[in-house]
Symmetry: C2
């Protein structure tokens, strides 16, 4: 455990040279990690997809994360976990015969949302989904996500929503939901989206509050004509979208299904 500004890795770490690593961002509410089990399962899934062996990390990580909370006197924070194939010499694509994986765990301040984001909803832009075909692996290969998020910012939007083969997949760091005549829809799980922990919690919550859900992709045009839309993520929780590109979603304000799901979500997360 070292101060963040002193934490370094070798330039030969495969995380630095190859993007050869996976990660998680886990949120703590009141000193309690939300959906820790789901995050650990997803880390395992990502590691398997990248053919990284987690080994003892899988068991040690929760205690390590808790120690970081305590040492930093944190209650409400994100915890960032990254696991790479480690330092190997000389640089070569194929797996090194011997390399000790690198584990980075650091608290990460929760981004404050733009003013009025929750009450008024946020704006999103649409962009072609240029990412690879294994978006279900939460890998550190995030350049397309970065470029998309930056474009969103420059166009005064909160998020960029990806469209692949005409269908809305997800946002650059969020999942995307829409409501059509009372029915909630989101892209099905699979290689083209990240199985969001908040997404999955919302999918489960829908049935408990009596909302019918279809895990079925919709087009960008359908999204623009939806009654409501929102995005989900560990850091944004459930956040209404009221504009996509230059199109107003529904009545241009957060919809009732969105607000009920947001309330229900915060109830279990913060409660």
């Amino acid at each position: 455990m070292v101060p963040l500004e002193q934490a370094q890795v070798s330039v030969e770490d495969r995380g630095f040279l190859f993007g050869d690593g996976v990660y998680e961002v886990i949120r703590a509410y009141g000193g309690h990690f939300f959906e820790l089990g789901a995050h650990m399962r997803r880390l395992q899934h990502s590691a398997e997809g990248a053919r990284l062996a987690l080994g003892a990390i899988a068991e040690d990580l929760p205690a390590l994360m808790r120690r970081l909370l305590v040492q930093n006197d944190l209650q409400d924070t994100n915890m960032y976990v990254q696991y790479t194939r480690g330092v190997a010499h000389p640089r070569a694509h194929a797996f090194p015969s011997e390399a000790k994986p690198t584990l980075l765990v650091m608290p990460l301040a929760i981004h404050s949302l733009p003013e009025g984001a929750v009450n008024k909803g946020v704006r999103a832009i649409s962009l072609p989904d240029l990412r690879w075909q294994r978006c279900d692996i939460k890998s550190t290969m995030l350049l397309p996500n970065i470029l998309a998020k930056q474009q969103a910012r420059e166009r005064g939007a909160f998020e960029a929503i990806f469209v692949r083969d005409g269908l809305v997949t997800e946002g650059s760091s969020t999942n995307t939901f829409a409501v059509f005549q009372g029915i909630l829809a989101t892209h099905s799980s699979g290689p083209h989206i990240l199985g969001g922990v908040t997404r999955d919690a919302v999918v489960r919550l829908a049935s408990t509050i009596g909302v019918v859900l279809r895990e079925e992709a919709f087009t960008l045009e359908q999204l623009c004509q939806a009654d409501e839309a929102f995005l989900t993520s560990t850091t944004s929780e459930v956040l209404p979208i009221t504009q996509v590109d230059d199109r107003r979603i529904g009545h241009g304000r957060p919809g009732p299904v969105t607000l009920r799901l947001r309330e229900a979500f915060l109830g279990i997360a913060r409660g």
Copy 2:
């Protein structure tokens, strides 16, 4: 300038956290960098694609690379250059308002080819191309390339050749050529392949030795039925492929067009 084992970057370097960087591998023959101008132009292209400003680096890099050759008393080596968006706090996808880019330059030993690779040719396997849609950017997001190369190794092959929408794009760290009835073919430049410096040199050499070239993609089946095939890269130069999956290419030994191109290439590179 520090010994490689002491060279470190912050864990908050965006190259480590986001794969937010581009790179080059430049080969020196007899103390002279081969096609340095082409590598610098490609670095510029990659940087523009990733919206990274190279700034003064573009001018300073050649001298820096030469200093590393001299200091390490190297004549024949690869030089690795990586440029990332630098250290930024706190972690956030969008570009940081202030960040000093990170530049890594290190000599990289030339991999020795497997025994008999040049004389007998190498084996390749075919795999679906799962990479993103901007493979012309030489970014450090290499997990799909790593996984493919590893599969090749495990199946006793030298390289994995990617197939996207039925067409051969390129290898995991090489470009792919085939000869059909005396005509040389390779995938056209564009977002689905990296514009290889060795590839481009071979394209130019073809006309000087009187070989007709078509920059036109071919299917995996066409590759398997080709008279000859070879791959190109900075480290492999021009290397015959004599087997793809379980199919023998041509007569199962390096073909005459391949060998002429290899000889011509080595003439200009080593000459």
